[in-house]
């Protein structure tokens, strides 16, 4: 029982925006689709929802072929980036509309709406219009609507991107708890790696419509499969060294340390980050980013070092990981 994408692809005007993508999301698992804008993550979500038709490949839900099922009948619980609440209906009517047209009987409608309102603690908003509630409240209503859909799969498209940073961090654990509660597969689209790591069990990193790596957050960080993933995951960005022919060596700023013995370097720029500081150094290997503790005083000429086993190696031509 799960969501399976088998070699799906979609093209617009002869350009593939999603290509040969295979994913497998099991029940109760949250999979994040992560990548820069235009990487095909939202397009993939729309294919799963049935809002667009794939040009190739198959979509299976619980081993049933859903590729050609209309979104009207697909039983998808989706939270849109804009929340897409119907602006002319009250919160209550927004929630009831779907149940009504799907022919759920009156008592059942009442029972389920009351239940969902209390799960999300939005009972007080029932008679308000979407325009008259806050962004965080709108997100809850959108989530409530998705829960009431009684879905086979949950899809969340950047559900937090319209909220401010503090609220986002507060909401993550609760959102994760609520959507995984029903035990359905969850696909979560985001461009924010922190959010992806916090929310997802596994992350699929996409670039130009192609899957770069599918792994747990820890694996992505520890053994990125390509230069792209290495640079995309982890902040500050990983350092890339190209002093050997055909091999790109990568070392994370947090794996470099200051030492008495080591590589001579010159401080160009320094950025204070609170609990630590980011240094930009001129070295024989080129410019390197280094993360060190905030309370260390940095002189203009310092020596740095790192241990060999923290290095990542990539083929400079194929951009893929070696070993």
């Amino acid at each position: 029982m799960s969501l399976i994408l088998r070699n799906i692809g979609r093209k617009i005007n002869k350009n593939w925006i999603v290509r040969n993508l295979s994913l497998n999301v099991s029940d109760g698992e949250c999979l994040a689709l992560l990548g820069p804008s235009g990487c095909g993550k939202s397009s993939t979500l729309r294919l799963i929802a049935g809002l667009d038709k794939p040009d190739e490949g198959k979509i299976l839900i619980n081993n049933e072929d859903f590729t050609n099922v209309s979104p009207v009948d697909r039983r998808i619980g989706m939270v849109f980036q804009s929340y897409a609440l119907f602006p002319h209906l009250t919160v209550l009517s927004n929630l009831l509309l779907g149940l009504k047209v799907r022919g759920v009987n009156k008592d059942e409608q009442r029972r389920r709406v009351i239940n969902v309102l209390s799960i999300l603690q939005i009972e007080d908003l029932a008679n308000r219009l979407p325009a008259h509630i806050s962004g965080g409240q709108r997100q809850r209503v959108a989530l409530a609507r998705a829960l009431l859909r009684d879905p086979l799969v949950y899809l969340l498209d950047e559900p937090m991107s319209n909220l401010d940073a503090q609220l986002r961090e507060e909401l993550r654990p609760e959102l994760r708890r609520i959507i995984l509660n029903g035990g359905q597969p969850v696909v979560y689209v985001t461009h924010d790696q922190h959010e992806a790591m916090a929310m997802a069990d596994r992350i699929a990193v996409l670039k130009d419509g192609i899957l770069e790596q599918l792994a747990t957050p820890e694996e992505l960080y520890k053994s990125p499969a390509s230069i792209f993933v290495a640079s995309f995951i982890g902040r500050p960005q990983i350092n890339l060294l190209t002093n050997e022919p055909n091999i790109t060596t990568a070392i994370r700023p947090e794996d470099i340390y200051l030492s008495k013995e080591g590589i001579e370097s010159k401080l160009i720029y320094k950025e204070w980050l609170g609990n630590n500081q980011l240094l930009l150094l001129e070295t024989p290997f080129g410019k390197l980013r280094v993360l060190c503790e905030a309370n260390i005083r940095i002189s203009d000429n310092i020596k740095i070092n790192w241990s060999k086993d923290k290095e990542h190696y990539f083929d400079s031509n194929s951009k893929l990981r070696i070993n």
Partner: protein, 272 residues
């Protein structure tokens, strides 16, 4: 500067109102006052003109009623056809939609008076002259292009997410129209409806040729019939009273629905 502005605005208002005010003045003038509009005479004022118009056969309110019937059926039929068409147009591929819009725009521009002969043949062939409801068929068709253009741009303004959310909620196409889309374009629908109503209320050449029975005449034709006689025998007093009565409903519509009329006209301009 401000004074200059006031003068300009003042003359604008006078320019718009003066001809109407003159009608009002004429409508209360006795036959003696009619030929001496600026002289001091006794018996200047009279209600005789209004009495004459309201007690004529058929009484004047009958024409108002006829125009209202045609106006309402036209508005209803046009919206009934235009709303689905506008939705469909807003979903078509951009290239096709663009050429469809161009055709509609051309049709909206078309001076429809040039169609009257063929439409008259049409009415005779089907034997539907002298029928107010039938009259609203050509009226609906003539207001259709503008209505479809206005409504389809309103549909296009609805965020795509909303309709997609409704689809995922399990709403079929008619349910989406009924519960989501039509309620959301209500402001555009009301301004379109008023423009259609005004058009059919004011239409002249087709009503002139389709309707010959006295008690089925629409207001513009009934009023123009007075002009059918020679210049000197036109009962101007009674005529002015008729125009004042005929203008009342429109005065009301303009005052009540000013916003919708303006937005209808300007939306047409912006999106056209």
């Amino acid at each position: 500067m401000n004074k200059k502005m006031n003068i300009i605005i003042g003359s604008l208002i006078i320019w718009s109102i003066a001809p109407l005010a003159w009608q009002l003045y004429t409508s209360f003038s006795s036959p003696e006052a009619l030929v001496e509009p600026f002289s001091q005479i006794k018996n200047r004022w009279t209600l005789e003109n209004y009495i004459q118009v309201l007690t004529a056969d058929p009484p004047f309110w009958k024409y108002l009623l006829n125009s209202t019937i045609v106006g309402l059926t036209t508005t209803f039929i046009t919206l009934l056809f235009a709303i689905p068409a506008a939705y469909s147009l807003s979903k078509l591929k951009p290239i096709i939609a663009k050429s469809a819009r161009l055709i509609l725009f051309g049709a909206a521009l078309f001076p429809y008076v040039l169609l009257f002969l063929a439409l008259l043949e049409f009415a005779r062939y089907l034997n539907i002259g002298n029928n107010l409801i039938a009259l609203s068929i050509p009226y609906s068709a003539l207001s259709m292009p503008l209505a479809v253009l206005l409504l389809s741009s309103a549909f296009k303004d609805i965020p795509k997410d909303l309709e997609e959310a409704a689809r995922l909620e399990g709403l079929g196409i008619f349910q989406r129209l009924r519960w989501i889309l039509i309620p959301l374009i209500a402001p555009a629908t009301s301004s379109t409806a008023i423009l259609i109503f005004l058009f059919s209320w004011n239409e002249y050449p087709i009503a002139l040729t389709w309707i010959s029975k006295n008690d089925l005449l629409t207001l513009p034709v009934a009023i123009a019939r007075i002009a059918g006689s020679s210049v000197y025998s036109i009962p101007y007093g009674a005529y002015a009273a008729a125009t004042v009565l005929g203008a009342m409903p429109l005065l009301l519509i303009v005052l009540l629905f000013q916003k919708q009329i303006v937005s209808g006209l300007t939306q047409g301009a912006i999106k056209g």
